[in-house]
């Protein structure tokens, strides 16, 4: 965090100059840049023009990257990634938006991983690459292959498509950070990457949140920052799954990982599942399982509070029948 002044920053910062600055309490890049140039020439043997030159080098190296708004507007747009379930995709404006961090939040076995699989299959069918960071060993590549087969692809085509899916098991936040930094620094190697799945972030971060020294919250913030940077720079969607926890005794549920994470994602889908297993009045495909609901709880671009019902079937994620589609009464 504190970048210390070093000779390699600029040849003008010789060991003698660094020692003089250190004697005057100026050890870091920020401390050097925040002092007036007139004050710095009294703290070391650099001339005024040399101080200005060093400042320019440090600003160029350590300042935030400037960008013109019109350059961003002129970037070619990337189509949203649709899962095949129009209603769920409609919550996000047509599918997973490129450049954004999307969170799927819900209790266990509600369908978070199934939705990730559906979007991963869609990305592969669109000719893109997918990277999966699996922390719970629940992301089934075999299931992904079955979804591709159900879309009419031959066995050979499925094998060819799956070559574009990179699967990595991660068991710690540090491993996840290293994987994300590798994607960021080796963008040419990951050209065509459209979807990055982390399943699940809660499994990785939750054990650290109670650690002393705020290491859990610190790493969580670093992961959130890096996920958003990778999503923006590589024009992909970062899709993470998270659990729900009880907010307080007798209170409602809220996303896990605390206030430190609550504001991070660009979009948050809350998933729930109907608890009754008795057959209802609405016609449902056989072996579809319970009806599930996705509600848009947070979004930077779409109205919140909208929801969509879906089913998890052998073909992936499908729309649940609406109230108009009722089964014919038995005579």
């Amino acid at each position: 965090m504190h970048q210390y002044l070093k000779n390699k920053e600029c040849p003008l910062l010789s060991e003698d100059v660094l020692a003089e600055l250190k004697n005057n309490g100026i050890k870091t890049v920020l401390a050097f840049l925040s002092r007036d140039s007139e004050a710095l020439i009294h703290a070391c043997s650099l001339t005024y023009q040399e101080v200005v030159s060093v400042k320019k080098v440090l600003f160029a190296k350590y300042s935030a990257l400037p960008c013109s708004a019109t350059d961003l507007l002129d970037q070619p747009s990337v189509a949203p990634l649709a899962s095949g379930c129009d209603r769920v995709d409609g919550l996000l404006g047509g599918g997973l938006p490129a450049g954004d961090l999307v969170e799927l939040c819900g209790p266990s076995a509600v369908g978070k991983t199934q939705l990730c699989l559906a979007w991963a299959a869609a990305a592969l069918l669109a000719g893109a690459r997918v990277l999966v960071a699996d922390a719970k060993c629940e992301f089934s590549v075999a299931r992904c292959r079955r979804l591709l087969r159900r879309r009419g692809r031959s066995a050979q085509e499925c094998d060819r498509l799956l070559e574009r899916l990179q699967y990595a098991q991660v068991f710690s936040m540090q491993e996840l950070l290293a994987l994300l930094e590798a994607v960021r620094s080796r963008r040419r190697l990951h050209a065509g990457l459209r979807l990055l799945v982390v399943d699940s972030l809660a499994a990785l971060a939750a054990p650290l949140l109670a650690s002393p020294g705020f290491i859990g919250f610190g790493l969580l913030t670093d992961v959130g920052t890096t996920l958003k940077s990778v999503a923006a720079e590589c024009r992909l969607t970062a899709l993470v799954t998270n659990d729900l926890v009880q907010s307080e005794p007798g209170g409602g549920e809220r996303p896990a990982l605390g206030l430190a994470w609550l504001h991070v994602p660009h979009h948050r889908l809350l998933l729930s599942r109907e608890t009754s297993t008795a057959p209802g009045p609405l016609a449902q495909p056989p072996r579809a399982g319970p009806r599930r609901t996705a509600t848009l709880a947070k979004s930077i671009s779409a109205p919140c509070g909208t929801s969509a019902d879906f089913l998890v079937t052998g073909a992936g994620v499908e729309e649940a029948p609406t109230a108009q589609k009722r089964s014919a009464p038995e005579d």
């Binding site: 840049l33 300042s63 708004a69 610190g218 790493l219 913030t221 206030l259 430190a260 991070v264």
Partner: protein, 275 residues
Amino acid sequence: MTSRACRQVAMLACDSSPCGESGRQLLARLAPRPDLGSVLTELCPHHPVPGDIVEISGPGGSGKTQLLMECVAAALSCDSTSAVVLLDTDRHVRMPRLLQLLQRHLPSAAAARSAASRLELLTATSSQQARVALEALLARLEEHAGVLLLAVDSLSAFYWSDRHALGRVGERADAWYRQLGQQLVRLAGRGRLVVVATRHSLSAGATGWHHMGAEWSAAVTRSVCLRPQQGAVEATLRMVARTEVAAPPPPSLWKRRFVITDEGVRWLEVLADNE
């Protein structure tokens, strides 16, 4: 090569201005600024003036970034030459949305695009990067006084990462963010611009604590607190008017609700106005 020659080779092309400022810089700094407040009347009844600091705080998803983008669009629209700098640490700002807001203020899409070209976006991926960017802006403002508004989204994006990096002792993190607040105050004062910054609620409940510290709270002249409520957002504005009198007047209170639509922020009824 002599040591003097080595140092000359190592120097980049630099400004050879002596200490102090030139007559041109002085005139640029003292020139009258465009009236930002006329298009920000909805946000607060008494519009901000150069040197003011507006803080927008609230929980995640309450509309802080949307409100900030409204301020940016208003600043870019009020004058055809003024520039706006946006320091983005949260990556929640979207340029197509900003263009949409500009088209609400300006007569044509071309005018909106021209206004967007005067926005400089600084994207920071760390706290240090953000603070160095602010120092660079301060150095530039002393030469180029065309920036009307500095928008920061947000002040708290890296707080937990910084807290972990600076160790278990909270005072070091407090000092870091106190210095960040001092940088923004210097920018507002010396740069004669309006600073609008968003801040996440990092603690649950109304504890009153926030990571920027008491010195920053005292420097903020307009504090807007957002609270999502029943499909809308309740904005509570506390305002301290700038005055030369030693004893500042008590802050005034102003409450209003708004909703975020496709066209932007739509203000609803005024809930309380005790001015």
